[in-house]
């Protein structure tokens, strides 16, 4: 057979394993300085959070340890940042730096786990609704509408009044509120993708519904899902801090950025660092995730901005 129609570059030499869409995206994102820096910040934060016990041991300050001699002034106020306490101390004379690190463990865990669960549920529900259409779609779409229009803080308060504030309840509430946003996007994409000829080709070969959904449609959905998930992580972190601030999320003494800030509220006039350091850490984290998400989006498909600019919802207690 002739090889005339093979592009010159593809004949002979060349890598045998193809450059897939993911490799191309990776090449694009590597040239995006903002995204790379944001990615590095995210990685660094995760590393610091994981290493929190090591760092705590190295400073010699446990997360709940109260330093009544060095950590509290004569007036009983927190101590400003110094050589021993890098971020200063809190109202009980605990090392704020160590507590912020430990808070990162909780906040990042909540953000990642809740978003991961939401992504899983959202993808499955969105796929089912979009693929089967008809009554299944009507039912699931209504469910998404209800979830999205339910005043979420009221719901959070209700759940917490039943279950009591805890890590699990916090993750559950956030996941419950995030899946619908993902499901909506996935449903819309599935509706479009299931009409593609390659789906028809799969059916003509005798592929079952599950195979079509997960082998043929899902890989084409991954790009928007990854972007949306990256953007939902900071939203979840913000959500966690809001819940904790209201006393509905992570309960002290376990530190989370939300309850650190909540404690700081009464002290901001006398101890700027109490409010400042947790707030700055939180802002840097969420900003890095958001910038990274934007970068991934641009790298995967520059035209995808349209999809998200219209559908993205930020949830926060206004």
């Amino acid at each position: 057979m002739t090889l005339t129609e093979i592009r010159p570059g593809a004949v002979g030499g060349g890598p045998v394993a193809g450059r897939g869409p993911w490799q191309l995206a990776w090449r694009r994102i590597r040239t995006d300085k903002v995204a790379m820096v944001s990615g590095a910040v995210v990685v660094l934060l995760c590393a610091l959070a994981l290493a929190a016990p090591l760092i705590a041991a190295w400073t010699g300050h446990g997360p709940d340890e109260q330093f009544r001699d060095t950590g509290i002034t004569a007036q009983g106020l927190p101590v400003p940042p110094n050589g021993e306490f890098w971020f200063g101390t809190d109202r009980l004379g605990r090392d704020l730096f160590v507590r912020v690190l430990y808070g990162a463990r909780v906040s990042l865990l909540v953000g990642v786990v809740a978003t991961g669960m939401a992504a899983l549920v959202g993808v499955v529900v969105g796929l089912l609704a979009g693929y089967y259409g008809g009554a299944v779609d009507t039912l699931l779409s209504r469910l998404m509408d209800v979830v999205l229009s339910f005043p979420y803080l009221i719901f959070a308060i209700a759940v917490v009044s039943i279950a009591g504030p805890s890590l699990t309840a916090t993750i559950g509430v956030i996941a419950f509120y995030s899946w619908a946003a993902i499901a909506r996007v996935v449903r819309g994409q599935t509706l479009a993708l299931k009409e593609r000829e390659y789906v028809e080709a799969a059916r003509s070969m005798g592929a079952g519904d599950l195979r079509i959904m997960f082998v043929d449609i899902l890989p084409n959905l991954l790009a928007p899902v990854i972007v949306l998930t990256t953007l939902l992580v900071p939203a979840a972190i913000v959500f966690e801090s809001t819940l904790s601030y209201l006393g509905l999320g992570i309960v002290p003494p376990t530190p989370s950025w939300g309850n650190l800030l909540s404690e700081a509220q009464g002290f901001y006039r006398v101890a700027y660092w109490y409010l400042g350091f947790p707030a700055a850490t939180l802002l840097i984290t969420t900003l890095a995730f958001n910038l990274l998400g934007d970068g991934i989006r641009d790298a995967i498909d520059p035209r995808m901005e349209r999809l998200f600019s219209r559908r993205r919802r930020t949830r926060k207690g206004a």
Binding site: M1, T2, G20, P21, E197, Y198, S204, M205, G206, N220
Partner: protein
């Protein structure tokens, strides 16, 4: 007969109503089509966009349920079989799709796309599967080394070869080719057509070959069926239909195709059809072609002509006033 299609009808309901949906009309995409296909034969199915030929192909491939009529494959009725019972027949009936871009999943590697039918029907796996796929790639003229590439790295013609390899994987008996070359450059069309022809000889394949262009179909088909608005208007051996069309619509279609031979072109009068193709929701009465037909008379708008042969000819045409046979 390998495939017997009798009186197949496919209507799509049109619904309206905000609260309670009700059917307000039907799109008569395919409206009573019958033909037979012998093993090893190629039937060319020709018609303009929207005449129902692709819908028919999807009905025959079991992708859409038919409204009425029956499809028999190798003597067994396979009309609207439930998915589970249709499965064994899917091994024997494969489809090559029109769009070499749309019919290959952009996020999957070519090797896994071609292996799909073998995996779905659990024919083989592992090393044997990889070898078979590479043999298939080689057979259709692709470099087997490119097993791990993505569809986007191939040209249109190469992608259609991937589609052919995939359709061939299960060694089917019938391949429904839904306009397999209309999205390709003319120079590449011939290559794919030749490939299909070679494969037919090698594997004893039967083709239902759909196209909107008579000239493409001629070289590969034993017989040709011409469709207009959901019905077959002419059916006969390829050369007679091409050289001596009986139905005015076939004649018009033929005159619209470019002819390479200047003498031939001289002899042909170009027939220009007036008006648009009527809507399949509300097709014309009598002969569906009558509003656009240069030979139409009163009877054409009241009585529907049957698909039948006239004396001294081999093919059949659904026309009250078929074209005279010019000898």
């Amino acid at each position: 007969m390998l495939l017997e299609v009798s009186n197949v009808v496919k209507h799509y309901p049109i619904t309206a109503g905000a609260l309670f949906k009700h059917v307000v009309g039907q799109v008569r995409a395919v409206d009573g089509v019958s033909f037979d296909l012998a093993a090893g034969e190629t039937l060319g199915l020709v018609g303009e966009t929207g005449c129902g030929k692709s819908t028919l192909a999807r009905c025959l491939a079991g992708l859409h349920p038919v409204t009425s009529g029956s499809v028999r494959f190798d003597g067994t009725d396979i009309t609207n079989l439930p998915r589970r019972r249709m499965r064994p027949y899917r091994r024997d009936i494969q489809v090559i799709f029109q769009d070499p871009y749309g019919s290959l999943n952009p996020r999957r590697r070519v090797g896994s796309i071609i292996a799909d039918p073998l995996v779905i029907h659990r024919v083989m796996s592992g090393e044997q599967l990889r070898r078979t796929v590479q043999e298939l790639m080689e057979r259709v003229g692709l470099n087997p080394e490119h097993y791990n590439r993505f569809p986007a790295e191939f040209s249109g013609g190469q992608r259609q070869r991937i589609g052919v390899a995939r359709a061939l994987a299960l060694r089917p008996r019938l391949i429904i080719c839904d306009e397999p070359v209309s999205a390709l450059d003319v120079s590449i069309q011939a290559q794919i057509l030749n490939l299909l022809k070679d494969l037919q000889v090698e594997y004893g394949l039967t083709y239902l070959f759909i196209a909107h262009d008579l000239s493409v179909v001629r070289h590969i088909s034993d017989r040709i069926a011409v469709m207009y608005l959901g019905k077959i208007v002419e059916l006969g051996a390829a050369d007679p239909v091409y050289d001596r069309p009986r139905h005015p619509y076939t004649n018009a279609l033929l005159s619209a195709t470019a002819v390479a031979d200047p003498d031939e072109a001289q002899r042909r009068r170009r027939v220009v059809l007036t008006g648009d193709v009527p809507s399949p929701i509300d097709p014309p009465s009598g002969c569906r072609f009558h509003p656009r037909c240069p030979r139409a008379q009163d009877i054409c708008s009241t009585e529907e002509p049957l698909l039948e042969g006239t004396e001294g000819t081999e093919g059949t045409a659904a026309c009250h006033f078929p074209m005279e046979v010019v000898v």
